[in-house]
Each structure stands twice: as structure tokens, then as C-alpha cells.
Symmetry: C2
Subunit: 505 residues, 2 copies
Amino acid sequence: MARLVNSSRNFISTLQLQNAYLVHSLRLLGTQAGLSDQKEPSGPTVKTAIPGPRSLQLLKELDAIQNTGAVQFFVDYERSRGNYIADVDGNILLDLYTQIASVPLGYNHPSFENAMKKPENLSAFINRPALGVYPPSDWVHRLKSSLLSVAPPGMTQVQTMACGACSVEHALKTMFMTYQRRVSGGSPPTEEEKETATINQPPGCPPLTILSFKNAFHGRTMGALACTHTKYLQKLYFPQPDWPIATFPRLKYPLEAHEAENKAEERSCLEEIRELIEKFDKRGTPVAGIIVEPIQGEGGDNFASAEFFQSLQDITEETGTGLLMDEVQTGCGVTGKFWAHEHWGLRRPPDLVTFSKKMMTGGFFMTEAFRPQELSILLGFRVFNTWMGDPAKVVLLEELVSVIKEQNLLNNVQTTGEYLISTIKTLQSHFPDLILNARGLGTYCAFDLPTAEARDKLLMALREKGVNIGAGGSCTLRFRPTLIFQKHHVDIFATICESSLKNMK
Amino acid sequence: MARLVNSSRNFISTLQLQNAYLVHSLRLLGTQAGLSDQKEPSGPTVKTAIPGPRSLQLLKELDAIQNTGAVQFFVDYERSRGNYIADVDGNILLDLYTQIASVPLGYNHPSFENAMKKPENLSAFINRPALGVYPPSDWVHRLKSSLLSVAPPGMTQVQTMACGACSVEHALKTMFMTYQRRVSGGSPPTEEEKETATINQPPGCPPLTILSFKNAFHGRTMGALACTHTKYLQKLYFPQPDWPIATFPRLKYPLEAHEAENKAEERSCLEEIRELIEKFDKRGTPVAGIIVEPIQGEGGDNFASAEFFQSLQDITEETGTGLLMDEVQTGCGVTGKFWAHEHWGLRRPPDLVTFSKKMMTGGFFMTEAFRPQELSILLGFRVFNTWMGDPAKVVLLEELVSVIKEQNLLNNVQTTGEYLISTIKTLQSHFPDLILNARGLGTYCAFDLPTAEARDKLLMALREKGVNIGAGGSCTLRFRPTLIFQKHHVDIFATICESSLKNMK
């Protein structure tokens, strides 16, 4: 624990030294090669309760015009830097949650500022095209230098969208289309299908289904929500289709001590998936596709093995269903590979991969086979909307991809991630009654507490000491830091977490 | 027709004078007060077929990575100005469709360029917050100076979203919540409701429905799509809920010659709505809300009378259902009032109003009564997602609202709109077999052709001569120009349309 003690000393001296002018006297940090252009504070500063008085005043004002039930505090984004988020009351927190896992390079990254100042980018910010109808002259080039340059292995097709939920919605539609094409052999629609399609009736709108998993999260629009099964509040009183819901494996930790049990658990889940597909097929509501997160996020950082995903892909192949890997939260390098599913050693690519959050733009990759193909004359309008994404976000993604490559940030995530998980395991060894089930891949890490109350208590204690972290599942704390999160940040977390846990004993 | 002849002469001389360097020798246009800061060409230039060779080359490249079935041509946005869109082959078209009705101030408007250069706006472009959790310090101020300053009369609550479809999805959810609160008296959910909600089953997910209209368009995500009934290709092979679909009035033109028939048509539609609500209520799938466009757009610019909408609101009041006015296409001043429903003289505001497109950001207004209220502890997560909109777009909206007010653009829309509809009627009087059912409000105008083939033929003929216009419904051409569209632009359209129609005779 020498590391923790040293860090603790650093933390206390940091607290003593810092004051309201801290962010004005920034010093260069970032000891790892390539990350040194990121100016940020040397540690957190907490001066008030969080939310502080200014946040509470703004909350009152905002609450007059919209529901604010989820607001945590108001942020001074101009004063936030790198891994540190500054609130409007002068507090500065080490941010391990980063806008629900959506900030890739930290706050105010210089590369984005530079992108904004390039004259050739201006048009993308002030002229928003209808990309599906009137794409800009540089669109192909921008897609190639951003999205396609980081496409999952074997995936050549990409479609941008505005956000994660829209991406899932249109990816689901693409699975329905592909399934129907397989079934019908690509024959043109009948007059009856055309007529019934506009009035929500079969055969034009057949009762196809999507198989999703318990504790899955895929979004809050009606189609994405139908595949989401985390909190009841997300769905309560909304009509939802009767689609198959399978059990996602609940692995026991440490993995090495529960190998047989975990294998049996996964076998049982796979069996249930087969049974559900058969059952829904028999009752005339066939499963067109399966949607799954490579690691469940919102549902509590639930992992399954590579073998589970390989078998899942086998099932989709055998049953002629699609496989949509939802990487909205797991993509963009957070697991140490660009896409989390690359860890699963699949024999062929998934059929579709959705993305958003850290990718700046929503959208999805797909294989050639899943590209819309039938009904050629108006085919472009099957997966379509006014904007179809936003070049302004792709401009930023171009910069992001370039920084990830130049600074080898996947390597940084791997290095920091290994250090983070070993640090959590050290904490777990010191607080075995409080820290449970340490797990993670890259910096996509998490641990559980014995109860939701204990989890919430630790989350608030961390915040009070300057660490902002996320909750997930029923009693999970999840790490969703930036891609420039480093070992010394882990040390700051460890010190503060240790002192918080001591108070909880 | 003196006007048309004069314009025609201007058009021909324009064509003769213009060359590849036209956009480099811009001259100030805009004879109306306040619009003179908008530099644009004096008329269209057509040098190649559209799409031209460069567009076709880019189309081939784009088609290798995504479906391009809806692409019309590739655009040089940097060279586009005001009401004129420049393609990559050196053609410059008068744009009456403006990115599917989504460009408020024309291309490269100086106010947006200025907004980009203000240091205080930079943070909004490079730090995208999770607005529902960590809003920026200036968020309340920005909402007030943009969205709330143009809120529909009587509506005090606003929620931003990323796009039109997401806005509709969450507005539908808000109607379900409000309906259920009315039914249950706001009592907390039962354990059974909580448990069944996460697995898509009643009573947690009750079979509530939304009533929508034939030929309505509300978006392409699963919930919005369930209310959309225009083209079969938008829904074919997608599972859709069995929700009530009512007939939207099909008025006969000219209105003054068909008063009694049109009144009877609307009475019959209102009667059908009442019957559908009763029928769906009786069968245990009650109607929680009605979604309607103030003027159907994609469905073919279908108008109903103010009395129809007043009676529709009466029905929602009597039956305890919500009324969602979808103003994604009709909002932001295009009808001469900021919101189209303001023309209908409703006794009280609609319950919800969705917006997007020209508003730069998606979102919806709602009344206090429709604000999420029950289940207070996690209420913020009922209408929620990661981004909840984008401050970068609200920065642009602030500029837009300021320009609309300073330059009195609603007045410009009224003036230009009156001139446009009278010009269409003049054309109709000269080509009574080709131009049918001239109609419009502000510059939100349209006319029909006798067949889809004739409509498409005219659309292509106009494009070949430098006018880009939109199709809608089965045989409609629709005008969706910018808010800075002026009389001299109407003249250019009229001249080109007249010569195109002569060739069709």
C-alpha cells in the first residue's frame, strides 16, 4: 500500500495548496509520451457542498422550465480541463464518468479547438446538410478518414445518425429488412403488403421480433426501449411489444475461482436463447435479430466470455437471425481495443455495430450482406431521415481519430486499465466486505458494493472529496474515464476511495 | 403576365452572363430592408446535367460504403450562398427545398459565421454535455434567449432533443405518462407494475395507443414510425403496433368553391376520430394522445380549417387524451407566424409541440400539465438520454432567433408568401390542366400535378433549369424555401416554371 500512502500525502498537500485560482495557474501534467499537450489541474479542489449554492440557484431557474430530476450539478465547461470537470461553485472534480461515458479526450482538448479554427471546417458547422440527399463534396473523404479508418475488422459499410438511440432504431430496421429478404428471397412486395404497410397491419408490417437481454440498455425511443430492460422507470406506462428477452450471463467473481459455474451459467443462457428463438418462431412472431452489448453497461457492467459471444454468433448463423453488437458505450477504444467485440475472437464480424457517445456522431457499421438491397428504386428512403447525422460532429471525430492514432491512446488505455483494475483489486483486498466483484477491460472497469445504499453512499462520499463516478445496475460503481486517463489519476482516485471506505466501515 | 415576361428576360440574360466564376463576383442583392447583408448570386447557373460528372463520380465512391438511393447531387456548401445551392459541377440552383425544409437563413449566413467566431461560444462546440445531468452554467440563459423567447403562446416548458424523430418519441412518452397519471390519480406504481415494466408486459407496459392520421409523417424511429402513414417503403416489413389511424380531411380547391363539401368532409373526419377513440377504449387499448401536423407536409401539403383543429382540441379535452402538434416542418416562421398552429385560433395551447429542422435543435414544448410529475425520485430519467440535445445547436438558434426578430423575417415570409401563392395561381390560370390545387400559408406553399409522372417530370425540368424544389404526397410539388426568400426569387421560379410547363403541354 506504499503507493496509496504516497498518493494520500500528495492528495492532502494538493488540497491545502489549491484555491479558487487553481485553474488559472495550470501546470503541465501528463507524464506519458504524447499526452503532454493536455493541461489540467494537479488534483481535485472541493470548496462547497456539491451541488453548491450557485448550482442550486441555477437548478431552481432551470426547474421552472423543464424537469430537472436527473441534474447533478451545473458545470463551468470553459474552466474544465482534461480529466477534470469544474462546477459553477469553484469545485474541480476528477471526472471518471465524463458525461455518461461520452467525452473521449477530456474537456477543452486543444485538437478540437484547432479543428474549430480551420477555415476549411467552418462550412460543416454552419451549413447542416440533409446528408442522405445532398451530401457535401468532402463527405466521402471525411467518412474514410474518420469512421472507415476505425471500422471493425471485416465491416465495410457505415451509416451516420444523430445519436445512439436513432442508430439502434435504424439498425433494428436493417435487421428486419435483411431477415425478410432472406425469407422472401428478395421478391418484390405484393400489393397487399404495400397497402397494409402504411396502416400498421400484416403482411406489410409482419409481427417480427428482436431478441434482447435482461439488464440490457439500448436507448429510450420506442424500438430501442423495447430492447432495454434495466430500470422500470425507463419503460413504466409505455406500451411495449412482446419480444423475447433472454438471460444475460451473471458471472461470479473472481472468475478463476468460478470457472465451472460460470461455464454452466453461460451454457444455460445459450440454451434459453435457442429455446426463445424456436418458441417465437413457432408462434408466428419470428426473431429477425439479436441485439447485445459486448459488455452490459447501464445494466451493471456485466461481462460474458469470448466463448459465449462466439456461441451466440453461431446461433444467429444457424437460425438465420441478425447479430447487432451495440457498442454505443463500449466502443471508441475504452476497452483497449477500438471495439470491445474485438476481444471476443469472433470467426466473422457481427452483422451490425452501433456507435455514439465518445464517437461524437451516432451511426452504425454493417457488413455488405446487411446493406439494404431490395426494392431498389426508393431504397434510399428505407433507412433515412432529414439530417442522417452531422458533418460538424464528423469533423471532430476526424480530429479524435487522428489523436488516438498519433498518441497511441489504445496503448494508454491498456496500460492505465491494467493499473486501474489492479488498484481496485488492492482496494478490494483491504475492504473485502465493501468492494465486490472487481472487473474490467481496459479502463471500462467496475466494482459492486453489497447494497444500493452502500453504493450510493460511496458515490456521494467520493464526490464530496472531488471524484465524480457513475452508478450502474443495482449496486455497481462504474469507471468511464477519458482515453487520456492515466496512472496518476488512478492514484488520486485510490487515495480518495480508500479514505471514503474507511469512513464507511 | 408582364412580370413573368420581364423576369424571363432577366433570366435569359443571367444565363448568358454567368460563368464558372460567378460566385466569386457576387453582388449584393436583397432589396427588402434588413436582408441586404445576404450576398448571393443574381440567378441560377446550369452548366451540366444534374447530377453532373463530378457528382456521379462521388456517388460511385459513396455507394461503395453506404446505400445512396436517395442522393440527388453532391453540394459545394462553401460556394452556396443564401437561397442558392452550388453543386460540385459548377451548377448553381435556386433552392426552394433547402435540405428538406431545414435551412432557416440560407447557406453561409454571416450571423452563423459570427457566432462561430465568438470566444464565449467555443466551449459549446467542443464540450458536448450530458444536458440532463451536467448542464452548462449558461444553459438556462441560452434556453430563455432562444427557445423560450419564441415559445408558442401559453407554453412554458421546453425540452431539447437531438432530432425530430427523437422529439416525437419522447413527446409520445410524455403523453402516455400524463394519460396514466390522469387514470391512476398519480398513485405510485404497484410492485406488479414495476416488475412487468422491465419485461415489456402489462400492467407495467399497458397497451395504450396513439391516434394518428392517414398521410401523416412524424419520423422513422419505431414510435414515430407507428404514427407515420405516407409511403409504404417507410414501414414495409417492420413490425408496427395496431394503433388507431384516422382520415385527415382532403379539402377540395379552390376552397371558396367547395365550402359545403369541405365542411362535410371535416365533420366526417371528426366523427371518425370520436368513433376510433371509443372503439379503442372499449377494446382495452385506450387512446392516450393524438399526434397531428398543423399542415401535413410529407403527405402532400394537406390543410384543414381552423375549425377542424378547434374541434379536434375539443375532442381531446372531452376524452382526456393529449394533443401533440408536430411542428417539425411547419414551425420556425414558415407560415408567417412562428408556429403554424397559431393560425388555428385554439382556445388553449396544444399540450405538446415538437420542433426540429429549421430550429437547428430538436425538442418539444409542453404545458405545465404535461410536465412529468409522478414518481418524483427518479423522475428525471423518464424523458432522458445521454445528450438531450446539443448546446452547439442552441448557440446557432440564438443567432437565428435574433436575426428573425431584428430583420422581421415573419413579415418577409408573409409578404413573399402572398406573392408566391398569387404567382402560383397565375401559373395555374395559364396551365389549368397541369397546375392544380394551389395552396399555401406563408411560403409553405404547394400545388399538385395531375399524375406522379407529370409531377416528377416538372421537378426534373425545373432542376435542369436551375430550380431545386421538393416532391410530396402522390403528385405534389412543395415549396420549402428559407426565411429570406423574396419576391425576386419568386419571379425567377415563375419564369423557369412557365417555360418548363410550356414544354410539357
